[in-house]
């Protein structure tokens, strides 16, 4: 048996096969070849293999879910048979370049053609061209497909995982995460928590290959990762895992109950979500609403901006799922730390203090307005509130309200139905907390983002592993900023909630209640835990 230690992200236990997630950063090189006939042969062979794969996918999907879903693979296959596409590839091969480069050239040319079309549906077809071209390039270069290739659910093991990698993964195939790097506040950690999966970060493991496919145990209570434990220990861990599952079941009993203390004080407990499907988890956990719907998933893991229509469909489906429960959507919160190439953001020495979130939105209103239009159009289908991240001044809020006004005017002129929409801000900078008295006059609610508020107040980078001890989330300065923000909100008759990680910290539940916090928004997996803490008071 091998034993590793790391930082635990969620107190839970997972047992299963280890799957080593290999990075797929393949860059196509442009190489001149002496033998263009040989390259043509390579391309022709790869093309055949790709078409066989696509036929297989078509048949499989047809048998399992029907023609409508299978058709896409048939279309992909036809794209590979398209005369113009093949002419472009063959043209580059004729010039004496390698097959990978030839396919990439055709991919770029035709993806560009679709991307420039007026029709949103057709613009989205650029993704099909890229998808199918990448399939051929992967075959040429002999690299396996992206994603988790294991059949059953596995413990995903990797050096580090980017947000775009984790969003793309199929949740049903993941038992737990184990990474070599990352802190307990990293994106992987936050994601694991939202998915209620045990995760161990910062393990320092380098020899993934040796453990790939073996049985592993992630012990989130002890912060340990066991590879091929002896039978006796394995049995013990299985017993403890069953115990953990039983405890979770006990929390289930709290479903449908109020979040009210013994002496009658009440608080809303909402859920944070990062994807449309997460709304199911929030409902499953009996959350009173969505207190933070991170909209970044729409922007990450893709090559171009999401269209208004795509966004509208996503927001609308969450609102429809949630019925009459409130959904607070946070507008785009992206900066140089989240890699989205098509934003063309410059490298920054200090992205946390840089060009990000509302700063980008106010500087590039076309991006902002597309998102706002989608949200306001979706507002006809449920109870929506919008909050804006990284606000530091009243003038920003005034500018935001002007843009919102414009968007509403345009939409109503176009005849779109809209519902009532509350506008709020994230209080996540010390500046916003300190001027919360003035800001409260401009908005309908505050949501305190404790993750950023902590890092900006304590001048501690939350991704820096060496500073975890300094990153004291219970620091009196932070609690004081929260207290004054809530007080200032109530003076103006607006509500104030907390949506950062701290909201789920049950050591502070009493403190938050005594400050008069109106709402706590936590990961779906913590909703019942927080309800229990409230009811135990």
């Amino acid at each position: 048996m091998e034993k590793y230690t790391g930082k635990s992200v969620l107190k839970g236990i997972a047992i299963g096969r280890i799957y080593w997630y290999r990075k797929q950063e393949y860059r196509v090189e442009k190489v001149e070849t002496a033998d263009s006939e040989a390259e043509k042969k390579r391309f022709a062979d790869a093309l055949e293999t790709a078409k066989e794969q696509l036929s297989g996918l078509y048949e499989e999907t047809l048998a399992r879910v029907g023609e409508d879903h299978a058709m896409i693979f048939d279309i992909h296959k036809m794209l590979l048979e398209d005369g113009d596409y093949l002419d472009t590839v063959n043209g580059v091969l004729e010039e004496g370049f390698n097959a990978e480069y030839a396919v990439e050239t055709a991919q770029n040319q035709f993806a560009e053609l679709f991307a420039s079309m007026e029709d949103e549906y057709m613009r989205a077809r650029a993704a099909d061209i890229r998808d199918v071209s990448k399939r051929v390039i992967r075959i040429l270069a002999g690299i396996p497909e992206d994603g988790i290739l294991a059949d059953g659910p596995v413990i995903v093991a990797a050096d580090d995982l980017t947000p775009s990698e984790t969003v793309k993964m199929d949740k049903n195939k993941i038992l737990a995460f184990v990474t070599a790097k990352g802190s307990s506040n990293s994106h992987t950690a936050i994601l694991a928590r939202s998915m209620n999966l045990p995760a161990l970060v910062s393990t320092g493991i380098s020899d993934w290959e040796a453990m790939d496919g073996k049985i592993g145990v992630v012990d989130g209570f002890g912060g340990e990762f066991l590879v091929e434990p002896e039978q006796e220990l394995l049995d013990e861990m299985i017993h403890r895992k069953n115990q953990w599952v039983a405890d979770l079941k006990a929390l289930e009993q709290l479903k449908g109950k109020d979040n009210v203390t013994g002496d009658g004080r009440r608080i809303d407990v909402f859920a944070n979500i990062g994807k449309v499907e997460d709304a199911d988890g929030a409902l499953e956990a009996d959350a009173g609403g969505i207190g933070l719907f991170r909209s970044e998933f729409l922007y990450l893991g893709r090559d171009s901006f999401p269209t208004e229509e795509e966004q509208f469909i996503s927001y609308k489906s969450v609102l429809e799922k949630m019925g009459d429960k409130k959904v607070v959507i946070r507008t785009l919160d992206i900066g140089a730390d989240k890699k989205v190439d098509y934003f063309h953001l410059d490298e920054e020495d200090n992205p946390a203090l840089g060009y990000r979130a509302i700063r980008i939105c106010l500087d590039r209103p076309e991006i902002f307005m597309t998102q706002l239009r989608a949200i306001f159009r979706a507002s006809a289908y449920g109870r929506v509130a919008i909050m804006f991240p990284m606000v530091v001044s009243v003038s920003e809020v005034k500018r935001i309200k002007e843009i919102v006004g414009q968007v509403k005017q345009d939409l109503s002129a176009e005849g779109h139905p809209m519902g009532e929409v509350e506008l709020g801000i994230m209080v996540e900078t010390p500046a916003a907390a300190l001027i919360s008295g003035d800001l409260a006059k401009e908005v309908d609610f505050f949501s305190i983002g404790t993750n950023d508020l902590t890092q900006y107040t304590l001048a501690v980078d939350r991704q820096n592993q060496k500073l975890e001890a300094t990153c004291d989330t219970h620091h009196p300065a932070i609690l004081e900023l929260i207290r004054m923000t809530v007080e200032n909100a109530h003076k103006e008759g607006i509500w104030a909630g907390i949506c950062g990680e701290l909201a789920a910290d049950t050591d502070l539940t009493e403190t938050f209640l005594s400050m008069g916090v109106d709402e706590l928004s936590v990961s779906a997996s913590s909703v019942l835990k927080v309800r229990k803490a409230v009811r135990d008071l």
Binding site: M71, G83, M117, E118, D119, M122, D128
Partner: protein, 85 residues
């Protein structure tokens, strides 16, 4: 040469699925088949060209067949477009 006009009734227009089926239908004939609309023309046997016409609901497209089996091709294309778009 044979030619006919057709107005698209499908709400999504000439999207991937009917375009794919149209290519398959057109490929059965030796004649050259050209679809024109939205100010552009496309070879009906080439999927990317067809899709990039950007034909939407309500637009009128013209379909032109030229070759030895143009009669049969015309009848088949007419039937296909009526049935699928």
């Amino acid at each position: 040469m044979k030619e006919f006009e057709f107005t698209v009734k499908d709400p999504v227009g000439l999207h991937a699925r009917p375009a794919g089926l149209l290519v398959k239908e057109a490929a059965k004939f030796g004649s050259s088949i050209t679809v024109s609309g939205n100010g552009k023309s496309a070879d009906a046997k080439k999927l990317i060209q067809l899709m990039s016409l950007g034909i939407k609901q309500g637009m009128t497209v013209s379909c032109r067949m030229e070759g030895e089996d143009e009669e049969a091709a015309c009848a088949a294309m007419q039937e296909f477009l009526e049935g699928n778009l």
